[in-house]
Symmetry: C2
Subunit: 445 residues, 2 copies
């Protein structure tokens, strides 16, 4: 993309409305603009990130066997009366009355809607198991929306719902999602730690939050250092196999947020030199809620012996728009954002220091065309602006690599490349630079 033809309104100053660094940087780097309290427009740069995150989430959901669909944003209140949640949900539910005076609402979640679909369309145990998900905008009318997209009112969520004939098969579905989440967050460039979460009246052990580490995180996190160093299950993992041993290492050690933390248990379970106390942000939650909605809504299937069995269900959420903010909280410095390669809106920022110079233009066009042809997203700063502004804009928006082309480099056939994360700069012959720019830069030591 040529910056001269792009829409990237960056800001030099920190906006007064933003209290946390991700919100500041999302405004300054031109990712979003507030439409009204807790509601954001995603400008082209932010939209690219949102899409890249969504695509990774989608790929890993599909790989696990979940099926993508799309439920609408506006739901009928009747459904929620059936489940018994309509009155109890409170003011966070955006309630709407349509022109025929029918009570509707903007969905804050979709348990009711998906249970209705499965109830009406699935009759037999033979059609199960089923895990259906969508990536759709939700609305929760927070009393004090804040922290930008981290606690917005209109937000994008991936929510999956599994349907099974028994708790035993539901456990298989749960483990699949557990593994898919580990893989998803790793691909997003994040360290996500599963932490046992409340199950409320459902009981059991099938509720985990996924917390990513960030100094500015909302929760305190306590765990064994080994958990942080565990890599996610690799491509060799098969969702057809029993995933119990795959998950075991992630759930066997001590790991708790401040809500469930027990200092004595922590000290008993983890040697002093292995204790990690950090801050974290919740980005996902998986939860087996048994027959909570299926019973209220009479969602059953016929078993082989002709009986009806009430469906066993779980729900599995990932805060997709929240992740944009969470990734920035986890990965930034004083100059701006540092995108992980997989979600960077552009992997390479190409800076033309002198657009009046034919040699600079030719070399830039060449690099731009060749990288683009190799599937690299390049933001080419071809604006007639001062070098200082170009450098600071590029640092701010956080492409993993920068490539700087000036008249002296052109003469020498060289390119200066900069690793945004480490700040390390190198001047390389053109071809050597091209080889570097197509792969992620080395990480900070």
């Amino acid at each position: 993309m040529r910056l001269s033809a792009y829409f990237l309104p960056t800001l030099k100053e920190n906006p007064a409305e933003a209290q946390i660094v991700s919100h500041v940087l999302m405004l300054r780097a031109g990712l979003v603009r507030q439409a009204s309290a807790g509601i954001y427009s995603w400008l082209p740069l932010g939209h690219r990130v949102l899409n890249k995150i969504s695509d990774i989430v989608r790929e890993e959901q599909n790989r696990s066997g979940a099926l993508e669909m799309l439920m609408p944003t506006i739901q009928s209140a009747e459904l929620w009366e059936e489940s018994g949640r309509y009155d109890g949900y409170g003011k966070e539910m955006l309630r709407i009355t349509d022109r025929h005076e029918r009570p509707m609402l903007f969905g804050p979640t979709n348990e009711e809607q998906i249970t209705q679909i499965v109830r009406d369309n699935v009759r037999s145990y033979k059609d199960l198991p089923l895990n259906l998900y969508h990536i759709q905008w939700k609305f929760r009318d927070e009393i004090r929306p804040r922290f930008g997209v981290m606690r917005g009112r209109e937000f994008l969520m991936k929510d999956a719902y599994s349907f099974d004939v028994s708790v035993d098969t539901a456990r298989i579905a749960y483990r699949k999602m557990f593994v898919a989440y580990l893989r998803t967050f790793e691909r997003l460039g994040l360290q996500a730690l599963p932490m046992a979460a409340d199950t409320g009246p459902i009981g059991g052990d099938m509720s985990h939050e996924f917390i990513i580490l960030a100094e500015t995180g909302e929760s305190a996190v306590y765990c064994h250092r080994d958990l942080i160093e565990l890599p996610a299950p690799g491509d060799e993992v098969s969702y057809e196999d029993d995933l119990t041993p795959v998950i075991e290492p992630y759930i066997s050690g001590y790991a708790a947020t401040d809500e469930k933390h027990d200092q004595a248990a922590f000290e008993a379970a983890v040697p002093a030199d292995k204790r990690v106390e950090a801050r974290g942000i919740e980005v996902g939650h998986i939860f087996y809620f048994a027959t909570k909605y299926s019973e209220a809504m009479n969602a059953t299937v016929a078993t082989p012996d002709g009986q009806n069995v009430t469906l066993h269900c779980g729900s599995y959420g990932i805060g997709v728009s929240r992740l944009v903010g969470a990734i920035i909280e986890a990965s930034h410095d004083d100059d701006g954002i540092i995108w992980p390669w997989s979600v960077a809106p552009f992997q390479v920022g190409l800076i033309n220091l002198k657009i009046a110079d034919e040699g600079c233009n030719t070399m830039c066009e060449d690099i731009y065309a060749r990288l683009t042809a190799q599937g690299i997203d390049v933001l080419y700063d071809d604006r007639d602006e001062r070098a200082g502004g170009k450098f600071s804009d590029m640092d701010l928006i956080g492409c993993p690599w920068q490539a700087v082309i000036g008249p002296r480099g052109v003469e020498a056939g060289e390119v200066e490349i900069k690793n945004r994360a480490t700040g390390e700069k190198e001047t390389l012959p053109l071809e050597a630079a091209m080889d570097r720019l197509v792969s992620p830069p080395p990480e900070k030591k």
Copy 2:
């Protein structure tokens, strides 16, 4: 995708609630289910089609230089008061009051919102031209929603908005969208005819509807046969060039819907043997509305000589969810849907006639793996069902190719392939069949 692990609830009977063929077939083929009046859930099969259409729309918008972003669904009423449309919009606008008693609404369109963004973030003529689009759900509270997704309340629309410093540059933006639309509809497998549309108080000649031909269309259409036979501009078209001569053939002949039709002018302009009278469905609309919103909302930029100029704007819509219905209206037969190759949820339906037969399974798995590796979307019917049900389901959902594998074929090393559109069947050696299945089937003669 293996049908045994998919969610595809087909219906044998025509649902009473559906009045038109696309609605009947979308329900029967398991593409959608109604959530409430005029609001639909997109099941996995329908969601695939919606995505394929969106992707083609997106690619052609991007190619023309338009930039994708994403505005939220919920808007503040204040914005609409600024433009003067809040009171006038009437009951089709879904009005909402949030928990703080602030008046909000579910966006039926986005002129106000995008004008605000451009006003607040674009200061100089140097940042123009700009064409920003999004593909987002809209809501219009139709008094009588009907015809399924063809006239729903919650619907997916691509809406683009162009911003220019003058009517002359706005005309360039308009022509780009005109060409992008011709290309988009052709790629969707549709014949879309541009028809001059009302400009109201704006005046001028920059308003066109794009109408696709379908026997069951809502409007009568009158045009010169040559218009129907004109191919869309090819890949060689450059959006940097003057597009006037590219567009000329599409706007020079007689073409009108019943709203603007003048029989005498039609007969004078078109020789009798070239007159086409048909039915059509509106699927797109492009419209230059000058300074209508920018003036009310004070959206200006500085010109080179330091003056402020009010922005000249156009809007460009494509009904993405409506297109799913419109394509079916244009392409079906008594047995079901006939998808164009480019938007088919699966291009090949692979039918295993005897899943108890190892030879059948081996051949099916082989074909499935090889086609998938070549990027073909295959729906593999591996269910333990009778052949008759498999055939009728596959006809209903309308994959362009069917490949049928039975024990006799396996023995002979042969596959029966069926062209869904023509009904033509051929029995071919495996390798010859494989070669056929990776390309669109020949069209009806």
